[in-house]
């Protein structure tokens, strides 16, 4: 019964975790850029949802797409102006650049929002589902359900729309895509902005469950790393597998080692997995 409960705790976070990593994976896969700023974008989305709830009383789970749209609008010009000039440059350059952006955004949020943790309190409280002795908090179910819906929407977008096909074509071979008449630069910017959309939406979902603070951005970045490596890079099914895997690993890690070591366990797993299967559980081999 205990193990079943722990498993359920993990599953209840899986959809949210998939949502956290989906944008990160998209940007990494398509632009070949590790967006160190992803954690900060998530936290920014969380603050948008927090203030929307505080000022207008909007439910953060419903607000998620709006937070995503705001970040989309910020990220599109950011990619065009700042990240596009370094596209195709060595890893060191792109990584250092997004690190700089991350420092800037984190410090900006620290200045405006302060470092103290804030939490949305629902009135009336959302309560808990009781499934024959197994307890699942309602807020987690809502976050994971919304997260799954958003990841599903991204998947449909990539598969069925012209933009999605263009993104996938650019990911496979940007030169051939350019020859087919795809505006590669614009596609890069749109993919980056879509990644930011997912980050903002994930942040809004987080704000309904966990206390938020600018200092937590690196935690979410770390989770996105682990999920991408666990599931394999650049595919939506991979993100889902990675998200649920991390949820379950953290849940059992908390049970065995205590909460402070749960993410460390995930990091150790990441290093071990990189040693033996760098392309992830579902990933293709031979992709750098």
């Amino acid at each position: 019964m205990l193990y079943l409960q722990v498993l359920l705790n993990g599953l209840a976070l899986g959809g949210l975790y998939a949502c956290i990593a989906a944008g990160f994976s998209l940007v990494w896969g398509v632009l070949n850029v590790i967006n160190i700023m992803h954690g900060s974008l998530i936290v920014l989305g969380a603050y948008l949802a927090f203030f929307a709830h505080q000022v207008f009383g909007i439910n953060p789970f419903l607000f998620a797409p709006v937070a995503g749209l705001v970040l989309f609008a910020i990220a599109y010009p950011l990619q065009k102006l700042v990240i596009n000039p370094v596209m195709g440059r060595p890893v060191l350059i792109t990584l250092t650049l997004t690190f700089g952006l991350n420092l800037f955004l984190d410090n900006l949020m620290l200045k405006f929002f302060q470092a103290d943790f804030r939490k949305i309190t629902f009135d009336p409280p959302l309560g808990v589902f009781n499934l024959g002795g197994l307890l699942v908090p309602v807020d987690r179910v809502m976050a994971t359900a919304t997260g799954l819906a958003l990841v599903g929407a991204l998947w449909l977008l990539l598969r069925n729309t012209q933009l999605g096909r263009a993104i996938i074509a650019v990911r496979m071979d940007s030169q051939a895509a350019a020859l087919m008449g795809i505006d590669v630069t614009r596609t890069y910017a749109l993919a980056f902005a879509l990644g930011a959309f997912m980050a903002g939406a994930a942040g809004a979902l987080l704000s309904g469950i966990f206390p938020i603070s600018p200092v937590t951005s690196s935690v979410y970045l770390g989770k996105a790393f682990v999920i991408c490596v666990l599931g394999g890079l650049g595919s939506i099914p991979g993100v889902l597998v990675g998200g649920f895997a991390l949820g379950i690993i953290e849940s059992f890690g908390t049970l065995v080692l205590g909460p402070e070591l749960a993410l460390t366990l995930a990091f150790l797993l990441l290093i071990a997995l990189l040693m033996f299967r760098p392309s992830g559980l579902l990933g293709r081999r031979g992709f750098q």
């Binding site: 700042v82 060191l92 350059i93 250092t96 690190f99 984190d106 790393f225 070591l261 290093i271 040693m275």
Partner: protein
């Protein structure tokens, strides 16, 4: 060594001597920090510059060295033994770590090296019996004749770390290892084909890099006399050496020194004037550096700054 390098070194040595004799403690503290930054940048430059591997493990090496020296000294060892032992410990650790992750390339190597510091920080936090956990570790004070004596002593010690970094880099540049690393940086598969034992070379230089950063961390621990996990495993310790190397020129012999001096100057300026937002300004500095001067200060002479601006802003191309 070319004549310019020799002149630069002589000037640096003269400046160091003058500082050690005459400077007040504030200037001495700045100079000690320059020594530390330069040593860390030379350490990073070995793996990141010569071999071209984007390592973010500097913080892990630095923190592990600081803690190794701290634990050894609290258990009674003199600093003269604890510092080299800490360097050796980190070298062994870097060897093991390198064996595990140096077959990764590009982003995967960067991420793997980035999370190592997080893992070590948490292990240090939890292992309270040895490390003092989150409470931190206080090191025994060395009796060195008052505040001024302390300042001069640690200035000399950090200077020696920087000199060690320069010496190792100089030797590596002139050795077969250096040639092999340059081959790896250019094209690793081709290097393998012509018979370079790439794995051994990468692990060897990773160990050198780890030893240098670890020993620097050990000196730092004695210098500040109190260390805690969030301080010595700070991710900025991994990023700053990269920024300094970018300023001075990645993969060059004297770049790290130039980068350290310029960077510390900027950092001090930010700290003084905008204390609350200094990390944000640091971030902007990094962004501007990568966009406008990716080859470091050398780029300033090669192209005019304006022309680079023109190339960057799409709409200005029509105007300029």
């Amino acid at each position: 060594m070319s004549g310019r390098v020799v002149i630069g070194l002589l000037a640096a040595a003269a400046a160091a001597l003058a500082l050690g004799l005459a400077a007040d403690n504030y200037v001495l503290r700045l100079a000690t920090t320059v020594g530390m930054y330069a040593a860390l940048t030379w350490s990073w430059n070995l793996i990141g510059g010569y071999a071209g591997y984007p390592s973010f493990a500097t913080a892990a090496f630095f923190g592990l060295g600081a803690y190794a020296a701290g634990v050894l000294q609290t258990s009674g060892l003199p600093f003269g033994l604890a510092w080299p032992l800490a360097g050796l410990t980190v070298a062994v650790f870097a060897g093991l770590l390198g064996g595990a992750i140096l077959h990764l390339r590009g982003h995967y190597f960067a991420i793997a090296s980035l999370v190592v510091a997080d893992v070590l920080r948490e292990v240090t936090n939890v292992w309270t019996g040895v490390t003092g956990g989150g409470m931190g570790l206080s090191l025994p004070l060395l009796s060195l004749g008052g505040v001024n004596g302390q300042a001069r002593f640690y200035f000399t010690a950090m200077l020696m770390m920087a000199a060690l970094g320069l010496g190792i880099s100089w030797l590596v540049e002139r050795s077969r290892l250096g040639v092999a690393l340059r081959c790896i940086e250019q094209n690793e598969d081709a290097a393998q084909v012509i018979g370079v034992d790439t794995r051994a070379c990468k692990v060897a230089v990773f160990m050198l890099s780890g030893m240098l950063a670890g020993a620097t961390g050990a000196v730092y621990a004695s210098w500040v006399t109190y260390i805690d996990p969030t301080d010595v495993y700070d991710v900025l310790l991994s990023v700053k050496p990269i920024v300094m190397a970018l300023i001075g020129g990645v993969g060059t012999l004297m770049g790290p020194l130039v980068g350290a001096v310029v960077f510390l100057g900027l950092e001090e300026l930010f700290w003084r004037n905008v204390l609350e937002f200094h990390a944000g300004l640091l971030g902007l500095l990094v962004v501007a550096l990568v966009l406008f001067l990716p080859g470091g200060l050398r780029d300033m002479g090669r192209y005019g700054l304006l022309r680079r601006l023109g190339r960057f802003l799409p709409w200005s191309r029509k105007i300029l």
